[in-house]
């Protein structure tokens, strides 16, 4: 049935009603573009999260006063080390810094060249950092978002922090984090522990919080209980839990995105409905002509099946390619905010190309096939009536 002349004439007939063809094609391409963009973004984002989550099992210990986390005394670390099952305890130094000119917050993270190991979170951040540059001088390492913002305020080589009452600390910018770690490092500034103590006014004997490494994850609960006994006002957090929560916060099915998602769906259903309900007069007369000159019902149907499949597949390919470009090259302007919340530094994210083949295949199945099959229904309906009813 699918010989060359069949395909040739099917295409010719299809392109003979160009206006209808273009309308259907555009609508369909838009639908697939939006769905595909959504899936590509979701996949890229979740991939980045999964990368975050496979850290080592650790507990974070914070000092709470009046329901607020305050700096944690370093003396706690020694006591926690005494607990059975605790491998190491690292003090962490971090905090937010408000960059007034840019009206945005930076996350400062302190590190020391002398300390050999860090908790998994800092480790994953500093993976790509070139520490040689820190050996000779004090300086900062910045996330891509920070770099961009600083550049727009003409801080290209160095940046000045203001602290205390009008004091200023100027540090050279030694490098920036890779694009790969952007989800974590976008708003980040890495700097020495001395500098961060100065800027955030943290005393020598305190840290922002402590991270206790527990080599056997099964002992985490026992350790947590003992820490709580030692320090009744401590808050104990699990890094893995924290990150799972973070993932949940990027709830893509909530709110605005869902509304936007519904729009094309409705358009799709309308298209669907018109496809099922009736053919245009021209379409009916084409069917009648073919029937009159001896095309059998299955042939007439496969002609339309072929047409619909051709259009839908073409729209699928164009839609997916456009969304690929839109998400990974243009970084989904407009849409990414729906995923990532308001447009501030910590929310901006560069989508790295991850192609979810399985999802795209699924998308193909759920969009191309129903459309193709639906378009055959009206053809069948007009095939079974006598051609003469149409061809008066």
């Amino acid at each position: 049935m699918f010989n060359i002349s069949f395909i040739k004439f099917s295409l010719k007939m299809m392109f003979s009603s160009r206006r209808e063809l273009i309308a259907v094609f555009m609508l369909y391409t838009c639908l697939i573009f939006i769905l595909s963009s959504f899936f590509l973004m979701k996949n890229s984002l979740f991939n980045a999260f999964d990368h975050l989550i496979d850290g080592k099992p650790e507990l974070i210990i914070q000092n709470m006063q009046g329901g607020k986390a305050v700096n944690t005394p370093l003396s706690w670390a020694d006591e926690i080390l005494e607990i059975d099952g605790v491998g190491q305890v690292y003090p962490r130094l971090f905090g937010t810094y408000f960059f007034e000119q840019g009206r945005d917050f930076f996350t400062l993270v302190g590190f020391s060249l002398l300390e050999e190991s860090y908790d998994s979170e800092i480790q994953s951040i500093i993976d790509g950092v070139d520490f040689k540059s820190f050996q000779n001088q004090e300086g900062i390492y910045v996330g891509l978002g920070v770099q961009k913002l600083l550049r727009s305020h003409y801080y290209t080589d160095s940046f000045s922090f203001f602290y205390g009452s009008g004091k200023k600390l100027t540090l050279p910018i030694l490098g920036h984090f890779s694009k790969k770690s952007q989800l974590e490092t976008n708003d980040l500034i890495l700097l020495s522990k001395q500098s961060i103590r100065l800027i955030l006014n943290i005393d020598e004997n305190f840290a922002t919080d402590l991270v206790a490494n527990i080599p056997n994850p099964a002992e985490k609960v026992i350790v947590a209980t003992k820490v709580r006994e030692l320090f009744p006002n401590a808050r104990i957090l699990d890094i893995v839990d924290l990150k799972v929560n973070m993932k949940r916060n990027y709830d893509i099915f909530g709110g605005t995105f869902f509304a936007l998602f519904l729009l094309p769906l409705v358009a799709f259903l309308i298209l669907f409905y018109t496809k099922i309900s009736a053919l245009t007069e021209k379409g009916r007369s084409q069917v009648a002509i073919l029937r009159a000159i001896g095309w059998e019902i299955p042939l007439v149907m496969s002609w339309h099946l072929f047409n619909a499949f051709f259009i839908a597949s073409l729209a699928y390919m164009v839609g997916v390619l456009c969304s690929y470009f839109f998400v990974f090259t243009l970084n989904a302007p407009g849409l990414s905010q729906l995923f990532l919340g308001q447009a501030n530094l910590s929310a901006s994210f560069n989508f790295t190309a991850v192609i979810p083949l399985e999802t795209l295949f699924y998308l193909f199945i759920v969009t191309v096939f129903p459309y193709t099959l639906a378009s055959v229904i009206p053809i069948y309906r007009s095939s079974i009536v006598s051609p003469l009813e149409v061809l008066r």
Binding site: S5, K12, I289, L290, S386, L391
Partner: protein
Amino acid sequence: MIKINDLEFSVSDGRHGRKKLIQVDELNISQGSFVLITGETGSGKSTLLSLIGGMNRPTSGTVKVLDRTISKLSDHFLSEYRREQIGFLFQFFHLIDNLSVFDNIALALVPYNLSFSALQQRVELVVKQVGLKGKEDFIAQNLSGGERQKCALARAIINNPSILIADEPTANLDKAAKLALLELLYSFNRNGMTVLVVSHDPLFEDNAIIDQKIVMSSGKVIAL
């Protein structure tokens, strides 16, 4: 060749039951004849053609063509019958407007698995027969009425049917085109094709080429 017995065709008529469109007790048409069917409007001429041409199945009775009872064929065989034994001509030509002359004619060959060169050969042959040589690539809607009907005729005869059915084929043509079409119909008839024409056109009335004249009224054949 065509034998009709106790033919009845009715359609459902809203809520009131069925409306009988045609009732023909007996009608015979011999092979190779040129038949003119006339009668006032609404008398059932087109309906009769549709039953002979296999576009409708009768409610009761039989239509036998070449010793085959076509009134009982499945859609598969009825399509095959339309394709191989019947050629249609209509008042409004019924070409696919945006396709070329060549493509319109070739559509009738698509159900066969022909190579493109074989298909092309056959299209060229009928194009020459109807006198459309050189216009193969013209788009149907840019043709004159006469040319359109010639294109439709080429499409109708491409499978060398034994019966050509024409429903008011000259109603939208000018004098010259009418004569040209008549000439063509007659030439096919001379070569053995049975031609059934429904027409009010005086051109066909009292024309020597007519072998048989059928007059219809209210769904019945009133004169042969």
